[in-house]
Symmetry: C2
Subunit: 454 residues, 2 copies
Amino acid sequence: MKPSIPKGTRDFSPTEVANRSYIMNTIKTAFETFGFQPIETPSFENSSTLMGKYGEEGDRLIFKILNSGDFLKKADEQLLADKESTKVTSQISEKALRYDLTVPFARYVVQHQNEMTFPFKRYQVQPVWRADRPQKGRFREFYQCDADVVGSKSLWQEAEFIQLYDTVFTKLGLTETTIKINNRKILSGIAEVIGAQDKLIDFTVALDKLDKIGQAKVEEEMLSKGISEEAIQKVQPLFNFKGSNLENLDALDSMLATSEEGLQGVKELRFVINATTELGLQSANLEVDVTLARGLNYYTGAIFEVSAPKGVKMGSIGGGGRYDDLTGIFGMKDVSGVGISFGLDRIYLVLEELGLFKAVDLPKPKVLFINFGDAEGLYCMKAITELRKHNIKAELYPDTAKMKKQMTYANNRQIEYVVLAGSQEIEQEIFTLKNMITGEQQKCSKADLIKKLR
Amino acid sequence: MKPSIPKGTRDFSPTEVANRSYIMNTIKTAFETFGFQPIETPSFENSSTLMGKYGEEGDRLIFKILNSGDFLKKADEQLLADKESTKVTSQISEKALRYDLTVPFARYVVQHQNEMTFPFKRYQVQPVWRADRPQKGRFREFYQCDADVVGSKSLWQEAEFIQLYDTVFTKLGLTETTIKINNRKILSGIAEVIGAQDKLIDFTVALDKLDKIGQAKVEEEMLSKGISEEAIQKVQPLFNFKGSNLENLDALDSMLATSEEGLQGVKELRFVINATTELGLQSANLEVDVTLARGLNYYTGAIFEVSAPKGVKMGSIGGGGRYDDLTGIFGMKDVSGVGISFGLDRIYLVLEELGLFKAVDLPKPKVLFINFGDAEGLYCMKAITELRKHNIKAELYPDTAKMKKQMTYANNRQIEYVVLAGSQEIEQEIFTLKNMITGEQQKCSKADLIKKLR
């Protein structure tokens, strides 16, 4: 039987690891340049840390780890007989694989608060696991790349995260991304104005379709969801949201004039937009988008989302926002947090589609030494040992195989140079260096070899 | 209730992550210089891939993942009622966390053999999980750092792995390590000579105590384990194993003259010793150790183990060997493998004890800008944006807090420089740069700032 891996998981080949490392290292370097510090948390947490934090659906998608040893001993006989899987779970499983990096981070902050200096800027790049139905671009094991600040309500953080997105995507060659920004308080303001908090999601979902289906159809959908004619009249400015970010904020100001919270949201957004305008962006566009809601009940201030360049079909490649009570779930009150996440797998697909991995240094030797026998092998290994001390990736073909086989190996691995050293070369203390791309061959000393390959 | 993490797992602080990354990157860089390519495999495998590969004790220590949804549906009622935990396991769990990197690698090779070029040199640095009883230096989640070659029986690989150990430990500043080497075939030869394959472990365990308890006590132990007086006479050369490696090999040659397999083992070892003598080592010592057995039934050729420098109390910090049938367990026959592993956690403890982390670049900003208000903040953020483009780690204190609080933050994070920019500096378009170590202050332009901090 051919071995396989669980559905929704992946093996990564050397090229894939190199490409993924390139993305992750670009993100990590930017995180550190912006003053974020790395932490790592265990792959599994106590179930009590994770359960009940992601809603009922989330709880279902958390991978549970079976207790070791005689795990059934503590299980209730009746529940087992009734096959009450959900109720039995907590009796036979006390640990679970982390579902995201945010809840473990909140747990970390509470547990280590006395060792930390606040505001604490942390980044974390680790895998998470979800028992979701796998589909294109959705996996059961995937990496999250998160940066968060806790312990400060300063809006400079929001401005900084926009700079951070711009820096990373520019470095990756991914220009013309769109960073969309909204504020939860503006959404609350809109809910106040339309007079229906419970209709807010229906409202934003309908408004989001404006570009695709036009104003008439959007209004029709709103009416069908029970949003009143009068309410729709009040939010007319949202249907003409085509000006500059600052013009749109002015329109929001008038529209939300009766909502204190809404006005506060506009004020916060204005600060971030102004700061970004002053600081400038290298290649991204910043766009106020009042339909942006991402996990409405989670965020309390700014909401971010990044779209790939136009023309690339892909959902968001990053997102985040401010949540005023990150650590409250673990009993530490009034600690505001704001953070963003990079969607590694989607960024990978976008870079691949746009041919932006060309510059990645693939994990292969710069030079292969052909193996003609034990004496020649030793002669080569002495040179290889020198080359490696100069950080040149060099390799001896391990076996005294036929020349053709060794050259095929070099070709398959796309190795740029091959060294041939037989008895003649040994006698003259030289090496024959062959460029596998041009076919050119030349004789050179060991010192020359180092110079040419460095 | 204060949140906690499962026993045997760890949170890593920024400094710990930086130190661990320093070790891992040193190892990875050396792996690549030696021509090894990275792969990654999923954290969990199908249980059938892992179970039965590590012996009964190993099976017990593998973390099993509970099936999602109504996992009890397929479980046998009678087994549940009898609380037959072991038998129920396979009915409610189909996946398990990987226990090491070797079995997943063997699975990878078999599964992807048609996409690979052999000999295949792979490295893999990923966590593994074991439900072992936690103790000092032993965790339930820990990283393994492995390099293996499959598809070649060449002894150059063994020689190369010794170079690799030497390179990594020298780079880490860990000089005077001892790389011990043995060969399974020599152990088989000894078993032949003493006429008892089943006494081999008792024999090597006793012999290993030679330095501590002396020859008389060792012979006494051997006799008590049923090894004959005659057999002990035959292996007398092992009690005088004090010469150079080559002298010891000569002694083994005479002693094992009647064992074909034993002589083959000596021949292989001689090749590796000779190659290493010719190539030289930067800082490690190579030592033939016939008591070295490490998982006797696993290895078929060379066996390696590395000890920390004398004076540091620590078990082995690395080990490995050759196994002639790596992929046989998955139905792909006759693929020889040889590999080594670095013990990250133990290396960490040794470097810490010897104060060898001093050179590690800690994840903290080079400079903190004090925040005096929105206008000053913007002035600073403009400079910070510039600095970051020059890869200088810079940070604005996010809030307009009291000066003392901001300076305390800089001190706590051991930030080297602080920039003060109030209305006066803004007017003159300058910055006041304070060296937090010397206390020295100076005024400088933005260009100067970049020059000084780069």
